[in-house]
């Protein structure tokens, strides 16, 4: 069988089905990403503000927010008056 370059994922998919937990994990991340970007749509927010709005533990917000920052979707936007928490906003020209 001749392998079609650039379209090889299908060959492995035939041999090795994707485990359910992997697809569940993807769904969970996609849901969190959407919720987080939605929460930041109108105005910048800090981690504690996002945690309240998304009803999510603060450490989980930090992890997901920093991941989205790494993926180029979010950027810091100044710090609060107490110099404690950064505000984060959707990155201009960020790919979404």
């Amino acid at each position: 069988m001749e392998i079609e370059k650039g379209k090889t994922a299908k060959y492995l998919k035939e041999k090795r089905p994707v485990p359910k937990e992997v697809t569940e994990q993807l769904k969970s991340f996609t849901k969190t990403k959407k919720a987080m970007l939605e929460a930041l749509k109108e105005e910048h927010k800090t981690v504690p503000e996002l945690a309240i709005e998304l009803n999510m533990p603060k450490d989980e917000v930090v992890y997901q927010l920093m991941s989205l920052m790494k993926y180029g979707l979010i950027e810091p936007d100044g710090i609060d008056d107490m110099d404690e928490y950064f505000y984060y906003k959707i990155k201009e020209n960020g790919k979404n």
């Binding site: 650039g6 992997v22 603060k58």
Partner: protein, 434 residues
């Protein structure tokens, strides 16, 4: 039909592509020997390439490592296998080793990958990034980190949904999901063991609360936060994203502690903690840094001056053994400790705690030797059979040890040890031709 292994021949096999293994490989290659460097990770450079700066000079770790890594990668006498494992080493006679090497699939043709990261951009998956010690996510199609060598993508097949988006985005069509494991039979005349060390897992000390209390991190996690390729925009508490202003270091976490099975000193924790404290005072000028220690071991060249410099900068040193760490509702942490000089138990509040974790042996390598035994010392590091006269010599003639595979040591000593291993390997190889 049984598939035959590819046969490769080298003068030296170096197991481990960290700074010690890299130094050994480079020295041997410069003398004209053909070297195979086998690294289990996706990149060479070991733990040093992940560090922020080095003590006591505060030179940028990446600035020292990357030119060396680049020289190793481009040397015509060095072949590098990353993502590969040595499965078996058999000594057939002097200067005759037979080695089974398993090359795991990367699902990317490294030679064709330009490191453009377009696969990473389109990959929909996000999983914990082991190169950032779990503080942030990474994609399933990813480049380990920006200064990785080779700077080429890899597919984390365990977490890949096989959606094919990476393949469609790749401009050079270098992603190949049909790759499979490859087995090699390597015939080598000598072996250098440079398998490095493991870090102590602080989950083994539940009273410190690592894992459950999110503002307690390890020294390696702080190292990443201080590095230019850091996971966050600045130094932050992972528990709530607050900028810390009162940070505590707990030295000897998992070192000099018989209760966790590691009674020896890790040699580097005092100095890397002092280094991090100085770097934190630069990054967070208003922060208070306190180091809880048993003894400060500042034994190397310039180390004591470095320690004094930290004291002059305002780092507080408390001779105290921390017994327990508990979390307050606001995420701050209460350290209950024995003030050794005052002889009383005290409590102190900090808003972030760094556990200065110790160095443990990476034991697996002794199991791959089939017909001769690679002796380990009482602490399970590779035994140096003649430590004073021939520090790289092991229990097997023709097998030499480099770097922290033989015990805890700092970076300059690891490089020296790599040099010693290459010198002794050369001497052994020359004996074949005499």
């Amino acid at each position: 039909m049984k598939e035959t292994k590819k046969i490769l021949e080298y003068d030296a096999l170096v197991v481990g592509g960290g700074i010690a293994g890299g130094e050994s490989a480079l020295n041997l290659a410069n003398l004209g020997y053909k070297v195979l460097l086998v690294e289990k990770d996706l990149t060479i450079g070991g733990k040093m390439i992940m560090l922020s700066k080095v003590f006591p000079t505060l030179d940028c770790a990446a600035c020292i490592t990357t030119p060396k890594v680049s020289e190793i990668a481009r040397h015509q006498n060095i072949t590098i296998f990353t993502g590969a494992e040595v499965k078996r080493i058999n000594k057939l006679g002097e200067h005759r080793f037979e080695v089974d090497v398993l090359q795991k699939p990367r699902y990317v043709n490294v030679a064709d990958c330009t490191g453009c990261q377009m696969c990473e951009e389109v990959c929909p998956v996000s999983v914990s990034d082991e190169y950032q010690y779990g503080m942030v996510g990474r994609k399933a199609a990813y480049i380990p980190f920006s200064i990785a060598s080779p700077r080429a993508a890899a597919i984390d097949i365990e977490n890949c949904t096989l959606c094919g988006a990476c393949e469609r985005a790749c401009p050079t069509k270098c992603i190949d999901f049909t790759q499979t494991e490859e087995e090699f039979l390597v015939k080598a005349k000598s072996v250098v063991v440079a398998t490095g060390f493991n870090l102590f897992d602080p989950l083994k000390i539940p009273r410190y609360g690592y894992g459950s209390q999110k503002n307690i991190i390890t020294s390696m996690q702080m190292e990443r936060q201080l590095a230019p390729t850091r996971p966050f925009n600045t130094i932050l508490r992972p528990g709530d994203g607050k900028m810390p202003d009162n940070i505590a270091y707990v030295l000897c976490t998992g070192s000099r502690d018989k209760s966790v099975g590691n009674p020896i000193c890790s040699q580097v924790c005092c100095m890397y903690s002092i280094k991090q404290a100085q770097l934190l005072m630069g990054a967070l000028p208003m922060a208070d840094i306190t180091i809880y220690y048993l003894h400060i071991r500042a034994f190397g060249k310039g180390f004591n001056e470095f320690y004094a410099q930290a004291q002059d900068m305002g780092v507080e040193f408390i001779k105290g053994k921390v017994g327990k760490i508990t979390e307050k509702e606001n995420g701050n942490l209460i350290l209950r400790y024995e003030d050794i000089e005052a002889g009383v138990v005290k409590e102190a509040e900090h808003d972030m705690v760094v556990l200065s974790v110790g160095i443990l042996p990476n034991q697996g390598i002794s199991d791959v030797f089939e017909n001769e035994k690679l002796e380990l010392d009482p602490f399970n590091f590779v035994q140096q059979s003649d430590m004073l006269a021939s520090p790289a010599k092991t229990s097997i003639e023709g097998v030499f040890v480099a770097g922290t595979a033989s015990g805890p040591m700092d970076i300059p000593d690891s490089i020296l040890s790599g040099g010693a291993a290459s010198a002794e390997t050369t001497s052994y190889l020359r004996r074949e031709t005499v």
